[in-house]
């Protein structure tokens, strides 16, 4: 089976520096994170209460849900603070010709 194709989602210059940026891709909301170790991406809605992580507090590699302050490590999606207990869905990310691309 072939890998999912890379898709352009946003220009690197349009990302909020050291923060999280919301991108609409079809019917999906994606959160793009600008971190000290590069760009990462996940589904934008928290898998606990459904709040939009893009309105949450972001620090380093940790995104915190604005509703309950559950938190995830954006590098691997692992939950780092309850009530988030399940890993969030993350996407493979790269930068090509100034564009952030996701395998999605």
């Amino acid at each position: 089976m072939s890998a999912k194709p890379w898709r352009d989602v946003i220009a690197v210059d349009d990302l909020e520096r050291n923060w999280v940026t919301r991108v609409q891709l079809g019917d999906r909301l994606i959160a793009i994170y600008d971190t000290p170790s590069g760009i990462h991406a996940s589904l934008a809605l928290c898998n606990h209460g459904g709040a939009d992580l893009c309105d949450g507090y972001f620090d380093g590699h940790v995104i915190e849900c604005p509703l309950h302050q559950g938190a995830f490590d954006v590098r691997d999606g692992r939950p780092v603070a309850a009530p988030a207990t399940r890993p969030m869905r993350i996407f493979e990310t790269r930068v090509q010709d100034g564009m952030v691309q996701l395998r999605i």
């Binding site: 939009d52 507090y57 940790v62 604005p66 509703l67 309950h68 559950g70 309850a82």
Partner: protein
């Protein structure tokens, strides 16, 4: 969600939100240093009043400070006291031991309070609107509160969680909540054993009695946050912000700006006064402070009875 709503309605821009949410350890460490000095002061008052009746007002004053460890713990629940995440867990646990409120259980219960704020039958922290002056005074006595807390901790230590608790505590954390209650009771047992062995019962006078004397003040304050506001999901209606003087703001870690806190729970205590300036026209504000809120509650009790 109220925050998303506030952003969509233009009450707050994304840039402003980002600025308000910024965290650092400095403001909380400075405030905690002052906090410890205040505690040292009220502790000294008890020592100075040891052999006279003045020990009772001194213990009451000390108790008012002690019960406000709830306010620090509440901020720690939201991870907004310190930027360093584990410091919030550590300080929250210590505050919880001081006032007998296991930290992680409170965190999960409080999450549900933010989901279902003031919705009768759903909000696990809802303080019901008293139907009579008698009910009002009974709540302020803190007797129902302590009865509920002692029962709750004992039940958890015995390994039992209620149906409601099983809903708001993540399944993976059931065992943690039970262990926390047991550890808390074990710490109390150790403290009492140490007092018995040493023959020094000072903590009864410096800690236990003051907490019980002070708790009605915390009940008085907790009532002002939502009691008497309508049971609706609209955040601008269901929560009351109380404008109070600087000493009270210090003690409650700015949680008098309660509607602002419910709008954006990720904003740290030190940014709430600035957030208030931004949202003041979109929320319910009680300019007369805690007393004003109680006058409002008492008026509603009176009107409901006539």
């Amino acid at each position: 969600m109220p925050l998303t709503q506030a952003l969509a309605e233009g009450k707050l821009t994304r840039e402003e939100l980002k600025t308000f949410m910024q965290r650092s350890d400095g403001p909380a460490l400075r405030r905690l240093a002052l906090w410890i000095m205040v505690l040292a002061g009220t502790t000294t008052l008890i020592t100075l009043a040891w052999d006279s009746w003045l020990i009772w007002p001194a213990m009451f004053l000390h108790g008012i400070v002690l019960v406000h460890h709830f306010s620090i713990q509440h901020e720690c629940v939201h991870y907004t006291v310190f930027r360093t995440r584990w410091l919030n867990d550590l300080v929250g646990q210590i505050c919880g031991i001081i006032i007998m409120l296991p930290h992680r259980f409170f965190r999960y219960e409080h999450c549900d309070h933010h989901t279902y704020t003031q919705l009768t039958g759903k909000d696990p922290e809802q303080v019901p609107m008293p139907r009579s002056y008698g009910e009002y005074l009974l709540y302020l006595s803190a007797l129902p509160y302590w009865k509920a807390k002692f029962t709750e901790v004992a039940r958890h230590a015995a390994g039992r969680l209620s149906e409601t608790e099983r809903r708001f505590i993540p399944r993976e954390e059931y065992a943690t909540v039970i262990r926390d209650a047991r550890v808390m009771l074990a710490i109390y047992a150790l403290i009492f054993a140490a007092m018995a062995l040493s023959g020094w019962w000072g903590l009864i006078w410096y800690w236990i009695i003051p907490v019980f004397l002070g708790e009605p003040v915390m009940r008085f304050i907790r009532m002002t946050e939502h009691v008497g506001r309508p049971s609706v999901a609209q955040m601008s209606e269901n929560t009351r912000t109380n404008l109070v003087s600087a000493p009270w703001r210090f003690l409650c870690w700015n949680m008098n700006y309660h509607a602002e806190h419910h709008y954006v729970a990720s904003v740290p205590f030190h940014a709430l006064p600035r957030l208030h300036e931004k949202l003041r026209d979109h929320i319910h504000v009680e300019p007369r402070g805690y007393l004003g809120a109680h006058l409002d509650i008492l008026r509603q009790i009176r009107e409901a009875r006539t």
